[in-house]
């Protein structure tokens, strides 16, 4: 393999990886507060893209994206208020089933509102075919946007959960719900907030990947599976871990294609996930304590 092609596969892997990572990070916020996986996360991603495309008919792109993030946050908070807030015993199993139900609900609602067509946001910079040359390999400017947004999201969420009072309160919620309540934390409101933030992150991810992947009402599930994989692989609740795992998975997939028939791509990535879970159930970068939650 020549150097140019080697770099090209690497770039392809980074493209896959950042898409997975930017979606996967959204899982962490709700997990950090409630200890559950929100199975409607993929639908938040889809919703972000869809709302942005609709708003972009009337607004400039940055405003449309900001609007989409806000709308999706409102939807996330509303969903929590309607379906989860009043549950007297929100056990993990019950919340998982509720979120699966919500994902179906959002998907079908999106089908009614937007129909079955694929929709797309324009490239933030350049167009569908523009490319930046990198050592003989070509990379789409949108990939650089995804990388940048991913980086900003990692910095902000890490800072939020480590250093702000609100972030620490949310983490306290997940690690010991009763204890947190005894200390006077408004647990239910924190959970509502975590749904809003998670939805907002999903929506931002949905907007930034939309020019590459397109948006269709049913696309959430496919993205969520990969996002979920990297969130687990990186250690749940760990944003930086999700990015590292995303890039690792993307690059492995890309080089799998170079050496084997492309059909084996997903087989390899799932095999890696299973392998890691057997050896290190907390993920590659997760702390072992986190798995008990």
């Amino acid at each position: 393999m020549s150097l140019a092609f080697f770099i090209q596969y690497l770039v392809a892997g980074i493209t896959y990886g950042t898409i997975y990572a930017v979606v996967g990070m959204g899982f962490n916020i709700i997990y950090n507060t409630t200890g559950i996986i929100n199975f409607a996360q993929g639908e938040f991603v889809m919703l972000g893209g869809m709302v942005a495309v609709s708003l972009h008919h009337h607004l400039p792109l940055p405003a449309a994206i900001a609007g989409a993030v806000l709308v999706t946050m409102a939807v996330g908070a509303l969903i929590e208020l309607i379906f989860i807030h009043w549950l007297s015993k929100p056990t993990v199993l019950r919340m998982i089933i509720v979120t699966i139900g919500i994902s179906i609900l959002i998907r079908e609602a999106a089908l009614l509102v937007w129909g079955h067509d694929v929709r797309v946001l324009p490239y933030f910079t350049g167009n569908e075919i523009s490319a930046i040359s990198l050592g003989g390999a070509l990379i789409s400017p949108q990939v650089i946007w995804v990388v940048a947004v991913c980086a900003v999201m990692v910095l902000l969420t890490t800072a939020f959960f480590q250093w702000t009072m609100l972030g620490r309160q949310m983490r306290a919620c997940a690690s010991n719900r009763v204890g947190a309540a005894v200390c006077g934390l408004p647990i239910r409101n924190l959970v509502t907030l975590s749904f809003a933030l998670s939805a907002g992150m999903g929506a931002l991810a949905g907007c930034v990947v939309c020019p590459i992947t397109y948006t269709q009402y049913g696309m959430g599930t496919g993205l969520a599976i990969k996002g979920f994989t990297v969130a687990i692989l990186g250690g749940l609740g760990n944003s930086l871990g999700a990015v590292a795992a995303g890039l690792l998975l993307g690059v492995v997939e890309s080089f799998t294609v170079s050496a084997l028939p492309a059909a084996y791509k997903d087989t390899i990535s799932i095999a890696i996930l299973l392998g890691v879970l057997f050896v290190r159930p907390s993920g590659l970068f997760g702390s072992r304590a986190a798995t008990r939650a």
Binding site: R119, V120, Y217
Partner: protein, 380 residues
Amino acid sequence: MTKAMTASLALLASALLAPHALAEDTIKVGAILAVTGPASFLGSPEAKTLEMMVADINAKGGIGGKKVVLIIKDSGASSEKAISFAKQLIEEEKVLAIIGPSTSGETMAIKALAEESKTPLLSCAAAEVIVNPVASYVFKTPQKDSQAVIRIFQQMKKMGISKIGVLSSNTGFGKAGKDQIEKLAAEHGIQIVVSEVYDSKATDLTAEVTKIKAANVQAIVNWSIEPAQAIVIKNARQLGLTIPIFQSHGFGNIGYVKAAGVAAEGVIFPAGRLLIADQLPASNPQKKVLVSYKNEYEARYKEDVSTFGGHAYDAMLLLSDAVKKGGTDRAKVRAELEGLKGVVGTAGIFNMSATDHNGLGLDAFEMLTVKDGRFVPLAQ
């Protein structure tokens, strides 16, 4: 008993009996379509088309004086659901015929059911295997994928292309197309240098396209019906590939052209003439059918017509022609379907026979390309 009471009893009795009498005067047609799910872009226009046509037919007094009752089941492109809906339609609803399913995989899953229960099945899916080998009760309205492949290879020959790379998705449609390409390549002097299968939910295909680029081919053929077919062309142009890109007849949805933007320019693919109905000369025998379907559909649903809805249009057209001739007996309808000749549909002119349950020739396909974001006939 007074006269009034007798009269009211008689009235009551007739009122109770009326629905029964009504049921015998209707024609029950089942439809199994992927209205939602990954193939919704097939099933949704198909369902809309059928609803529109049945409303039209009933407004004009039905077929042979009998109203059509349409029962649409949404399979979500799942073969398991298609099977259970087929059983339900055949055993409980006792439908005269079934239109659909939308996808090749689902059709193959219920082919045997239709055959055993002697229920005419008019599939809206493309794969050759649906009607080859011929099953006596199974028909299909889209052009065969072998014909699409042959048209593409003929075009390649004209352009001096002999070494190609093939991409296909891991669906029934993708696999059927790939099989036909591999089967027919040698006799058309085409060499497949590299052939890759990708996941139908793929969100980016840069690595797959890189592999094709490394193989130094003269053209790419992509075979899929998902959004991935719009992603492929974008990734190829991004990587600086300037070679011609051929797509299957699954590309016949202007939504994909809009999604791929400038990357869609110059893509070559075979398709029915519905997409260029307005650009056809008045002498074309299909023009009238195509323009009236397109105008009616677009006025009613405020969305662009696609060839997929046209497949359902053709299925309903063939079925109603057969019912007009053969009545409402399943075996007779089947025999009439097989004998239909010169039926002008959206996909082409159907000439059915005992050995051909599709009835379309190579000329049903037109080679199209994309110019300035629109479908136009490929300049020869």
